[in-house]
Assembly symmetry: C2
Homo-oligomer: 234 residues x 2
């Protein structure tokens, strides 16, 4: 991406804030930006499929995406990651072959930066400092996956849902002691905890009746944090 591009400043800002490049020198980061190209993706588009996965890597500037796996036989989907501005996708292909089965789909209209694995690898060889930047990021993702495995096999759906919500709590500026969770459809929530929509609905409405939570899509809030922690079984 050229320095005179209209998007240059915004992209730079996002990179600057990204956990991916936390401790990377500013000048170096500017240099790196030259490697990347800019493009947009409409909501719903399959941003990266398994075919193209192994030869490019991406960094998100705006919008969110889900990285998921499907079972064509029973039509079920599981969301491995939700990613947003500053996140990368297919970074794992810097380590080896990249995701085989996973597919990334845009949840919103998106802007992304992309480059070839080839170029990224060369860059990495010339600038080993970048290893210290992105390796912790991959470590984080690995922990995320291990946590998902643990959740799926050690906890029931109610606990998994509670845990998902607890991980997405956002402190609310208006009301004390109350917090908000993300704007995600119940369908999406279900696909994140390895369950189906109706089950999520069931638990949410039970929790509403018991005054554990209140609100609806996009504006949930937690009334009884203690109860939620209890359901998450620590």
């Amino acid at each position: 991406m050229q320095q005179d591009s209209q998007h240059y400043t915004r992209c730079m800002e996002i990179l600057r804030r990204s956990p991916l490049f936390r401790n990377v020198d500013n000048v170096l980061l500017k240099d790196m930006l030259q490697l990347f190209h800019y493009k947009t993706r409409a909501q719903g588009e399959t941003a990266i499929s398994s075919e193209s996965a192994s030869d490019h890597l991406y960094i998100i500037i705006s919008g969110r995406a889900k990285v998921s796996v499907y079972n064509p036989d029973n039509g079920r989907e599981h969301i491995l990651f939700l990613i947003g501005p500053g996140d990368g996708f297919d970074l794992i292909s810097l380590l080896d072959g990249g995701w085989h089965d996973a597919v990334a789909t845009a949840l919103d209209d998106m802007e992304v930066l992309y480059t070839t694995i080839q170029q990224a690898r060369e860059w990495l060889n010339q600038h080993p400092d970048f290893n210290r930047a992105f390796l912790p990021y991959l470590g984080e993702q690995m922990h995320g996956l291990a946590d998902q495995v643990a959740n799926l096999s050690l906890f029931d759906t109610e606990a998994r849902l509670a845990r998902l919500i607890l991980r997405n709590l956002v402190p609310d500026k208006m009301v004390q002691e109350v917090s908000l969770i993300n704007d995600l459809s119940q369908e999406t929530l279900a696909s994140m905890i390895g369950s189906v929509r109706v089950v999520v609905t069931r638990h949410l409405s039970r929790w509403k009746q018991k005054k554990v939570i209140s609100g609806r899509r996009g504006s949930w809030s937690v009334l009884d944090l203690q109860a939620l922690l209890e359901k998450a079984k620590q």
Copy 2:
């Protein structure tokens, strides 16, 4: 470990064959071995727990271990990885903080090499070539975790068990078209697929009746590979 140690040659051999150091120069590898210390672990011992996890890393010389997570509430266990000679544990702490909840337990009597994260990190800074050696290994593990998530949430227990067996097939030298699987207790198999012992027993005995498999602990063989593939749903 000193060059005059009685274990030196064997250790070196294991390291040489390990996927961890596939494309590492022999001389460099010998150098590296100096970093490590040797010790043994009895079967059943908790080789590495979450407390010590973040300050040491290990390479297995002999014996196997399981890396697993527990839910104290319902007493259930899930095995994240089975590791054996040439495998490392807690390598992820080279990336960040290491496993928090996972525990490694020796399945057999073991010999391990160990060193501090600190020392390993310094070594890695001086020898960036090692990044190319162990990063693909971590990438592999990451794929393994993603596969487990996919299996747990997209497939039923029968398919998961079939898939586990298919992944552990070993070509049999004696009989054509027949293969053997690992020597693992049904309890262990269950903990690898996120289920319980009785369910594993159920499926195995059904499969025996339908002549899909035969044998018993330690000497299973697959009679009808096609049927097994079918149950694994591709």
